[in-house]
Assembly symmetry: D2
Homo-oligomer: 320 residues x 4
């Protein structure tokens, strides 16, 4: 149950079987930090190429293919006061005929944008109060002069199988760039383990983000992160799962959204059967009247949809 | 500002330019009732063929193509104590390889199911307390022996243009079978008017429904409904819009979900420009960090996605 | 086996249970004509509102729900020398980021375009030789000064069930606006019958059309059409089927294209089982190495995909 | 202009920046061989793990990011007499309700299948005549006792950027598992170069394959391959392009098919502008009446669609 302070010196823009930076044991926790999506540190200095650079990977002793890696996020919080965001909604989240009515001239392609004022909006954060302010005030956006933040991690996951190194622009069964605002402090995430040690990567802090990350960013900012790991031997999910105090969640990462729905719904049915003893008729009855879906991102090459149930509607978990 | 009590004698399973059953004026309200999706009345008697039969249409004096019809739902509530639901999630909301693990033998195709016990689950409602109970208890579903209802209307809308008569199985710019749980008592819905009188239809009450209506039904039940209409001359939306005390909502109806997202996001941008004076750069900034998406149904031929914003984040509405 | 000459006097822009214009018997043939998609006759005069106006419906004696209507197209050919086409590919068939690089200023929304020179390109046809010429020559398009036509019907079908009247902008199990270049002279099309008399509608001639109808039109032109009908009692397809001398084809109409693929593939498997005695293992073996898919349109609200097999790879048809 | 005989000793199941096996110069040609999708050599011996193992990568001197790699396939042909295929169409190419009617009991998940008789069908090839025979004859499949093969390569491409190693189960801008039957002997393929040397990989021979590769395989077989490379400096495509004697082709790899259409159509428009001087109005006119789309695969995580034009409809290429 050791606690590790880890100071990163290099970062990865893919999630893959990179050389581990630290070996930890089940029950251990790690305090570390992440650069922002563009590779800037707590001083807003560019120290590594952009593209959701990841801190890690962390090798978890005893995690083997076929196990589940448990990651509890004890803390995730911005560690500087300036963040940046994309300037316009993505052309694929509006009607095709409407695209030409949006002023895309200053929006670089491909995104996400670089953090200079031509390409982004800047935001000032009050980290003590947990609030944000759009730096350049605009008529009609008075509410953005003082509003509550909701910090979350956009991109994290474990090494995929077959030697793949998957871009941090996208996501899959290994996690990755899911951009789901439910991945906030206090959440516990479960990953299928594909390689020995699982190889956990973390990065891409958002001070806040709307559903879908439709401008290509949340408020992008460097983060301090503390997490605690565990391993469940011999139990493997197909997709990332998560829970907080009140809900359980299953994640589907794919395109189109319809396919995310399929992955997330199926994974939640499997979970309810494995851990709660509900057969598919029983989970159908429950889902029909009480399931909730949340959108992660609809910006990246793979979109993200989360299917979730409130714990108060579930039976007691089966004994392991 | 008259109040009308309307007793329906026949019902339509398409939304179209049918003979009006009542002519009303802007400001008038109507109290009436709807059979359930299967055509059963308050006594659970089958009085008309199933398929989301609609009460109406109501002709609103002065509503012309190019106007907006305003419908405020003063009341929507079940008027009997027994409801029914589909037995299994639809095969298209789970992974294709997973379909064969679901016990579809007793599920009729095409759905929605007929209300006899072989094909559906039955529910008993306590209308005074606003709670429901799954009639045949199942292990693990103890929470369903007493849970809060959340009544909503699944299918309603106005006559489409060009003489179309659109099946109540699906939805479009005219509304229709959207199955969105945000369409609950107290909501105000705005429809584009396509034909003189707008021709409002209402039906398909659900005592409660999960996101996506993924078993093909909410708890299907007959409803009492009271609504008040108004007309906004010379202003036309492209898609249904709605608001309640805290939120404004824009609806997109299509397949796949990605296209619903496009319609709903575009419509919300248009609305914010028309009524709140926010240009597309401003609404992009707002949406990037604060937009929310809700799923209506992912069961019907056209799916439904709702894009919404909290009113507290918006500026004051422009004077009309 | 009568032959009817039918002179249309009015047209429908939905396919539905409209008043029949002529009652015919199985074995009968009809020679008639259709206006172009914009409602112009053989003199390029606008005689009816645009939107793929249909000639008909024709009531086929003895056709009942559950039967199959057989329509053999003996002739379909342009009957005037000027056609028109849309000016630019639809914004949804190119990358969302690319849309703003296309000069959409003069393209009306919604389409299809009106036939004046500001909105369309005009074409001159040599009906004797079967060739076309782009009226306003453009550098690089020299090949379009003399090229072979391939006439086809874009929109035709039978009345859908439940009293629906479906817009001729779209398509479904009843047929409709499929815009498939395989529907050329000599093809035999099979429709499921939903209402007594089937109620056949025909219209929307194209002198030629590329895959996908991605500019929103083929070369739109008025047509002379001759067809012969028959009825197969007690046999019902789920989707339109077709055959010519060398191929059998099954049609899927939906969005997205992935869903068209599902409908068309399933329908072809059903057909091979019904008429050729191939179980699903056998048709899988055949499809894996020899199936072909053609795109109808990817422009309309519902897209169209055709799955087809060459007859030389099939066994002899079972005796009926 | 050297010719290299290359004998592979190991294979990769990702396409990435692996150690080059051979350095070649523009103008050089290479004769080599590939194992089949399951890792079996010309003796049907398993010599490497399955998953479309690739021969290579080949480092092409002088190819730099921003250039185009030209690969002309002088020869591609099976080098053994036994191939294998999947047993059933994928559940996602049929209607969701239809899935349970297919006998999937013996089909392993995930696929592609392993080559033992329980999981696959076996085929005997006559390499001199270029014909195939289904080993276990089935009633109704008599045509499969002697039919013409059409050999093609299913998976090949160049290393992607950012250090990615992309699974050979899928495809992208770098090429990969496109499974397009137009990639047959004599084709020239153009790839965007992402890394120095381009790093060409080749594998996954099919003796023949239907559109869509809907049983998860063509007739999988080991191949002899000869190719010649060239580099076009300072010219970069966004997606793979190809040409044969009569056609030019642009490839889009994504999900859903609608997005493949967007990529392929856009790429073909760009190509016609770059090399043939056609602006987007001109290519729209051409595409509207003469474009063709072919489906590559609709089985893999990313689908493949090809947009193509016949050369006889194009102007002369611009001087470089």
């Amino acid at each position: 149950m050791a606690h590790h302070e880890f100071e990163p010196t290099h970062f990865h823009v893919t999630i893959g079987s990179h050389e581990p930076v630290l070996r930890i044991k089940p029950g251990d926790s790690v305090s570390t930090w992440c650069v922002d999506a563009g590779g800037h540190d707590r001083n807003f200095e560019p120290i590594t190429p952009g593209g959701n650079p990841q801190t890690g990977p962390f090798y978890v002793e005893g995690a083997e293919p076929g196990d589940t890696l448990v990651v509890h996020f004890d803390k995730m919080y911005p560690n500087r006061q300036t963040g940046f965001t994309g300037k316009l909604v993505a052309p694929w989240v509006v009607d095709p005929h409407f695209v030409r009515h949006l002023p895309y001239e200053d929006v670089p392609t491909p995104r996400p944008p670089r953090p200079d004022e031509r390409y982004v909006d800047l935001w000032d954060l009050d980290l003590a109060k947990g609030t944000g302010r759009l730096r350049t005030a605009r008529p009609g956006l008075e509410a953005l002069q003082d509003f509550a933040l909701d910090p979350m991690l956009g991109c994290f996951g474990v090494a995929p199988d077959r030697g793949q190194a998957i871009s941090c622009a996208t996501s899959g069964q290994h996690g990755g760039n899911m951009d789901y605002r439910g991945f906030r402090q206090g959440v516990t995430v479960y990953f299928p383990v594909f390689v020995p040690g699982a190889l956990l990567h973390v990065g891409d802090g958002h001070a806040i983000q709307g559903d879908g990350e439709i401008v290509g960013t949340g408020i992008e900012i460097s983060f301090d992160v503390t997490f605690t790991v565990d391993v469940i031997k011999g139990k493997r999910a197909h997709w990332p799962r998560a829970e907080n105090e009140t809900e359980i969640m299953a994640v589907g990462n794919a395109r189109p959204l319809d396919q995310c729905v399929q992955h997330a719904t199926t994974e939640l049915m499997r979970w309810l059967e494995q851990d709660y003893g509900l057969d598919y008729r029983a989970s159908s009855i429950l889902f029909g009247q009480l399931i909730r879906y949340d959108i992660g991102n609809i910006f990246d090459p793979a979109y993200t949809m989360v299917a979730k149930m409130e714990k108060r509607h579930l039976p007691r978990k089966k004994a392991p």
